[in-house]
Amino acid sequence: MVTTPDTKLITLTINDRNVTVPEGTTILEACQAADIEVPNLCYQPLLRPWGSCRICTVEVLGRRGGLVESCAAVARDGMEVQTHSEPALESRQFVLQMYLVDHALDCPTCDKSGECYLQDNTYLHNVHTNPYGRPKLAQEYVHLSDLIDYKWDRCIICARCTRVCDEVIGVTAIEVMGRGLEAEIGTAYGQDLRDTTCTHCGMCIAVCPVGALTDRKFGMHPWELDATQTICGFCDVGCTLSIEHNRGIVRRTSHLWERGVNHGYTCERGKWGYQTVQSVDRLETAMVRNKEGELVPSEVDAALDTVADKLKHYQGDTFAALASPENTNEESYLLQQFTRAVMGTNNIDRLVNRSVIDTETGLLESIGVIASSNSLQELFTDSHSVLVVGPDIGSQAPIASYWVNWSRKYRESALVLISDDHSPMCDRGDVWIKAPVERQADVLLALARIIEDRGFSRPVDPGHSTYGYFTSALKNVDPEAVAASLDVPFQKFEEAALLYATGGRSRMGETDPESEYPPSVIFSTVATEADADVSDVGKAVNNLAMLTGNIGVPGAGIMNYRGPANLQGATDMGCHPAFLPGYQSVEDPDAVDHFASHWSPRWNESQIAQNGFGVIRELPDVPGYSMTEMIDAIESGEIRAMYIAGNTHENSYGFDQRLLNVLPKLEFLVVEDSFGSELSELADVVLPAAMYLEKDGSFTSADRTIQRVRFAISPPGDARAHSWYIQEIANRMGYNLFYSHPSLILDEISKMTPIYQGVSFPRLERGSMQWPVRAFGTEDSPYLQLGDGLQEESIQFATIER
């Protein structure tokens, strides 16, 4: 429930206590706000009240009948509520008794036992008799898919699972079939879940209050497990997960409701991703290429000695490093420090797709910041219209798609999709324009032309020269021709353009260009396109937002989901050829001096220059090669040695495959990876890397949210965290890096990086922060404002050549 200054407050009495809540709150939520526990089975935060379980019954005094379902009844001013009065308790007891008539009481072998709402309430209400003498009804277990089982005997038909599937996930793969005693949860025509729209997110299992929907692979009891709260490492939404493990093995992912950007909900990768981390195929030993040219297992120490010895020959611009966009901020910071301070080069970038680099170039040219301008949570409060561009958001940034879907359903925000993939969301949105990736820029420009022609354009600075260029270039765009060539009715284009420009008001017939309209947000996943030229789409998206003035306001802006978990953090930390940490230019002499004064004292002074390797006092001050440029530089023999921190695994977003073709030209290649791949086969030294559940640190998600990543299980075999390898190599080369814990690295980062000021582990323990965080104690920035985060002079329309 969102409270704004004009929300009316009401006061009601619960158990003789006065409670003040915003108008529209249900009685159950009011009770929770007052810390009064009311049992409930079918209530789930973020879902519509259903009122099917009937055990949240409370008594409202002075009302005929008196008993109401607190989860569905809205609190009124002056209401007198008794949650534990005699009639309420009696009614709850009766309902529970009826539940248990056919409920299979196989608690000892039920996965839910110990955290079961029905079990808890049965004990709490002292229910122990079955008024019916007949034997319990039972049915066979149903395998809904290879992950999910359905056990009818335990089901209480509270419809939490089907509601979550419909209202949050937005796929409606399961429904309640039949009525009365024949009611059961199932798929259409009894199909296997794998053949339906199911995304295998497992949320139906997560919300089941009893053990009716279960995870087939789970064979523990909840009380046997220890939980670690951490951040998911498989995409850049940055979901909070509760990883439950015992005996050093992760057993399941559980859910911290109403916590984190995901409010407890997860997608398939979040729910089952730990299986990838625990895969038997993980790299467990270091490998070094011997004289015969074969990779042979080696001790980690010996491998690191080889790396340090070899790298001493490549100080300067013959060396390049690629950071893994899935490593923590602290690790990325160390790698760029190593590259700049020890190897003396700015040849550092992230191991990513071409599309990511293209999108970032577009962002730099238009809003001047490589980040999403707004926050995902604004879908719950401010955004009134959502434009989704790019590959299926439901598989690229699933949690973002949940909240887009939620916003469409509950806040009735308009939804326009421009995508080639036909996902369930395409059928639920207001307008879906099917366009292949190379035509999406044309569609966006056509929308911009319609908006401009109808007079909806509201640029931040109408006098800016680039605005003139853009509008004159728009004159060459013919929306009707674009619509015709895509075989989409032109009417859809008009509708989409108006929905975006008016914040969804055009559905109500408000199309006056003069009036004020609520904000519209763009969700762009174009950067996750595996191998395509998306630079034009990236720029067109930004131009559209700037054209309608949807920048620098809450609920507006451009949300860019670019794939790997900490891509944003790696970029913030300066794993970029042109930027030091915190987007300080490498050509800015003050910044370079500042970093040099902190980094160069770490050199071991007794270091003797040999083989051209020696102490570096000055940091390089020309931008290095970006990942795409590196490919050419390797081809021409300019770069001869590389350190690549890979992120190969089955959920990985991949990297530019052209890199693989040129890598054999290198004289020396170190690959640090968690799985063997074509990349590690080309390496001279392979180091086994830890994954996200196996190290401490912090991640920065796509909406600039800095969150704490925690250690849950030990890495397999000899695998170690990236930060440990970098420190060991640097120390062997005469550069002292000794950080016993990543928190010390983050302390240095917050000192050196203006946008990360005041970020520290103790602060992150209390909750996430969104950069720019200006100084210790100041509030973070959910959205980038003009003058704070966004520089007005750097906001300009990017040129698009079509």
Partner: protein, 143 residues
């Protein structure tokens, strides 16, 4: 004379009574039903199927944590016993595991010959325990 005989009275009485000594190990004594020997896994006397449902309550209640249960998901979507390990060196023979079992799959058997020459011999696995318990009745049900 009488004094001599009365001095031998106990000896003479023993002479005519049957022999009480058991020729261990050729002969073994049948322990009473409620004797608490090594905990063992029972199976259904008719079908021979193991009774255990892998709920793990026995390993949970064990005061010395000498029971270790590994649970695997079964084909039917249920739980199944993967490996079951009894570290008898720590066992108190208290019988709580048998009492807590919801399906009476574990019982205290009559097995008392637990001496061994190496420590590994004190560790019993599922198959060994199933052998001991195959024909056993529940120990509290016995007379």
């Amino acid at each position: 004379m009488f004094e001599e005989v009365s001095g031998f009275w106990v000896t003479l009485k023993r002479l005519v009574r049957p022999n009480q000594t058991i020729q261990y190990p050729e002969q073994r004594r049948k322990m009473p039903g409620r004797f608490r020997g090594l905990p063992a896994l029972r199976s259904d006397p008719e079908t021979g199927e193991a009774l255990c449902v892998a709920c793990g309550l026995c390993s949970r209640i064990c005061p010395t944590s000498c029971l270790e249960m590994h649970v695997v998901p079964s084909e039917e979507g249920d739980r199944e016993l993967g490996e079951f390990i009894l570290r008898s060196g720590r066992c108190l023979f208290c019988g709580m595991c048998a009492q807590v079992c919801p399906v009476d799959a574990i019982t205290m058997s009559g097995q008392y010959e637990l001496a061994t020459q190496e420590r590994e011999g004190m560790i019993f696995t599922k198959t060994e325990l199933a052998d001991y318990g195959a024909q056993e009745d529940t120990w509290w049900g016995a007379a």
